[in-house]
Symmetry: C2
Subunit: 300 residues, 2 copies
């Protein structure tokens, strides 16, 4: 089954389009975990991330369809961090979760292929191998089609998908993404190309395997993109901690309630202070609450 239909099926099964983001930060971890790694070397921090994020995965697996580890926070802990990231992706998959490797890669030719195969798998030496095995990854469009194509190719070989940056959620996104040409902003041109790259890869749910990152912080732009590109999945960051609420994410959904997955990181994984002795229950409660709130947008 292609990525798009797998995603739709899992969203319908879990009755929510919530994606839980894993953006671990040492200073936000529960004190009961930090106290076990008191030396707090980069290796110890990585081990603490493994313990915390594994718990988070176990808690949210019955409640949500998708998880999205943010590569940067693991890269920050060196090689040990990357080993932990690999283990967490494997753990998420073993729990039946759909995974998005959020690493926003982008490069040309064989370099792009190497980045893509690090996620979707490929030949390394004499072995098939995927460094950070995931169902999908985020990709940066700046370098053009021949730089995005290797990601699409590697993804499609394993029924995976990509999410291309279209309209990011940061306040400064406009600087280049809003540069206007032929009456349309750059991000619109990117979305239009994306729609073309999706042709021939639309699933039974009516959406393609090449999705777009569209921030919740720009609901008007999201509404316009949604209207024009009904076959593109939106991955929507900016919900919760970054300021987007239900009203801000609503425009990213199609009439039938499909078409978007909404990410929440801090709001779900750090809902209380590090002192909370009952942090697991707090995470479960936060995940359930967000899952149900966003579930109300599904009309299936």
């Amino acid at each position: 089954m292609n990525f798009s239909d797998r995603l739709a099926e899992k969203i319908i099964l879990k009755k929510t389009p919530l994606c839980v983001g894993l953006d671990p930060r040492w200073e936000s971890l529960p004190k009961s975990i930090r106290s076990k790694f008191a030396d707090a070397t980069p290796e110890a921090v990585a081990e603490a991330y493994l313990e915390f994020c594994s718990e988070v995965l176990d808690i949210v697996a019955p409640l949500v369809p998708v998880v999205k580890p943010q590569s940067a926070f693991f890269e920050n802990c060196g090689p040990k961090g990357m080993e932990v990231l690999r283990k967490l992706l494997q753990h998420a998959r073993s729990l039946g979760l759909i995974t998005i490797m959020d690493n926003k890669r982008g490069d040309i030719a064989s370099t792009a292929t190497a980045y893509a195969e690090a996620v979707f798998g490929g030949q390394v030496g004499s072995h098939e191998y995927a460094s950070w095995p995931a169902d999908s990854m985020t990709v940066n469009p700046y370098l053009g089609f021949d730089a995005v194509e290797p990601f699409l190719k590697a993804a499609r070989k394993v029924n995976g998908g990509i999410f291309l940056l279209v309209r990011t959620s940061n306040p400064g996104a406009k600087l280049f993404q809003d540069i206007e040409s032929s009456g349309k902003p750059l991000y619109h041109h990117v979305a239009k190309s994306l729609a073309k790259w999706n042709e021939g890869h639309i699933g039974e749910c009516g959406l393609g395997d090449a999705g777009a990152v569209v921030g919740a912080t720009f609901p008007q732009e999201a509404a316009a993109l949604r209207a024009e590109f009904p076959q593109i999945w939106f991955l929507v960051p900016g919900f919760g901690a970054q300021g987007g609420g239900l009203d801000e994410v609503r425009p990213s959904f199609r009439e039938d309630g499909l078409g978007a997955i909404v990410n929440s990181s801090r709001g779900v994984t750090f809902p209380t202070s590090p002192d909370d002795p009952d942090w697991k229950s707090s995470i479960r409660k936060a995940a359930l609450q967000s899952a149900q709130a966003l579930g109300s947008l599904l009309k299936i």
Copy 2:
């Protein structure tokens, strides 16, 4: 001394603006190295990259000012690959080489900071740490100023620098980079912003610590950018294997011969076939040849 002046000083000392790119590929490695890692697991491939690239660094260190490992090929070998990348960067620095971590990162807010500190160093747990310690790194501009700023900040704390993607060397670069607004292509708007971000950070050599990636495959565009932005360092990929020759890189230099570093990866590191028993001499010869050819562009 700031990054820009360190770069200029090292180029003048070595009498060449050649940057050697480390883009290892298993199938291109000398057979004498591959035969030691016959099982060719991802870990073994990473070990082979370490042995090969360490030799390359030792060979080129007396001849060139700068080296640029390509992160993708190490990421492709998993956590062990990242450990090897870390060791190679440390080795390059111990040899006095200026290092560019070519990983084209780009993300927002605290995520960008995590990526930046993974290269330039920062607090991880209770320790100062840099996962992939380098003097500079490549950065993708798509997300805007608030996404580039954390890289500039982290770099400037340690007298490091960045190279922002402006005009990439791939044939398809035009798709978005040439989108025209107010009579100028997108990449020109990016370069203009970059010039602004350089203000107040111009070294004695007259160039700033925020450079631009400008492909040798687009010499006319490079000439126009050079004329308009005399204070921006250009990192020029596309020389050698990608088709650029001396005539193609010349427009990236200022009148005084400074202003650009030219990358060659395969041309220097894989000049002969994997069967070459004398591969070390072949690499030395190729490095020397490219260094001298490009050195002729310096007028100092």
